[in-house]
Symmetry: C2
Subunit: 199 residues, 2 copies
């Protein structure tokens, strides 16, 4: 069966997957960009945004592996848009421009369904309610035998971990402190949930 | 002025400095020994317990630096003994045998003062109440210009961090999950406390 994977998910030394006070200016919360410096510097990420160069070492290897065999993504609503609640400005098409780096169907978890958006390059954003199990079922069907990658944020990953639906998680602990924000592990006992370190 | 240092303090990926259910059999809590595998494998730690060999790389370098210029230690009561409350069995002399690896005065934070214990090799255990500020003052005086190392546990370090009394902390994130136990950062905002990553 296809796997459910979290890849290249970065947390701070104090365990936060995003900083405090997320906003249009700070989609990752205050200080949150520092979590992703390692990833953004890689050849894999630079190529996704049409840039040349980038690092080619271990970081790039992990970044690249994270995209292997992914047939669909799941994102929390807060990963897609800075707004909350009902969709006021339906012209918002995500943070990633005309051609987002997904190139496969992307399922956005929301309590407020809306019409799908077809982007350039194979990405289609679907806005689905019904809870994490129902969304995973749709994503699996769309992935068509390939794996489903849960992109985040921390709350979404935590829900899937709690439900024991994640097969594989690659965490990157970035050398930064955020102090507050979205904590990946808060209230989770990963040992009783059966998680084990493989590497 | 002499510095207050936390050195080689190991936490799990999920942020715990000790596992759940600390006891005489599991002084570091269930699973807690895994936090210290890197340190126990070093030449520095092996030598402290009279053993030969051990690793001599980066881990050993950090382990060794942690002992440089230390004139006194502070330990939480739970680092010294598995018992809580008043000292029933006053024959308990710590986990470390006749000749503990400190070789300087060690101040044990407790609400239950008792007579000091002079051990072989220069270690004296002092049992002091009066709160973290008072204990630090005594430890500084005993250190006589050298630094004071706070050995742990997580609760003790957290109290000193909250009071902004720690000058330097070296954390080691060990590749293990504990799920529960003593969390080093819970309730702490290290950013507003002014902590910064130096390396």
């Amino acid at each position: 069966m296809s796997k459910v994977r979290v890849e290249s998910f970065a947390i701070s030394i104090d365990g936060f997957g995003a900083g405090p006070n997320q906003s249009l200016e700070n989609p990752l919360g205050e200080g949150g960009m520092a979590l992703h410096e390692w990833a953004l510097a890689t050849k894999t990420f630079k190529a996704m945004f049409g840039e040349e160069g980038g690092t080619t070492g271990l970081d790039d290897q992990f970044a690249r592996q994270g995209f292997d065999n992914i047939g669909a993504w799941i994102l929390g609503r807060n990963m897609f848009a800075p707004t909350r609640g009902s969709w006021g400005d339906t012209e918002w098409e995500g943070w990633w421009g005309d051609e987002p780096p997904y190139h496969v169907p992307v399922f956005i978890l929301t309590h407020h369904p809306r019409n799908s958006i077809v982007m350039k390059g194979g990405t289609t954003f679907h806005f689905v309610s019904g809870g994490i199990h129902a969304v995973l079922e749709q994503a699996r069907a769309a992935a068509n035998g390939m794996d489903v990658r849960i992109g985040g944020g921390a709350n979404t990953i935590r829900q899937y971990l709690e439900a024991r639906l994640v097969d594989h998680i690659h965490l990157a602990i970035s050398p930064t402190l955020l102090g507050a924000g979205k904590h990946l592990f808060e209230g989770l006992n990963l040992v009783t949930l059966g998680e084990q370190i493989s590497a």
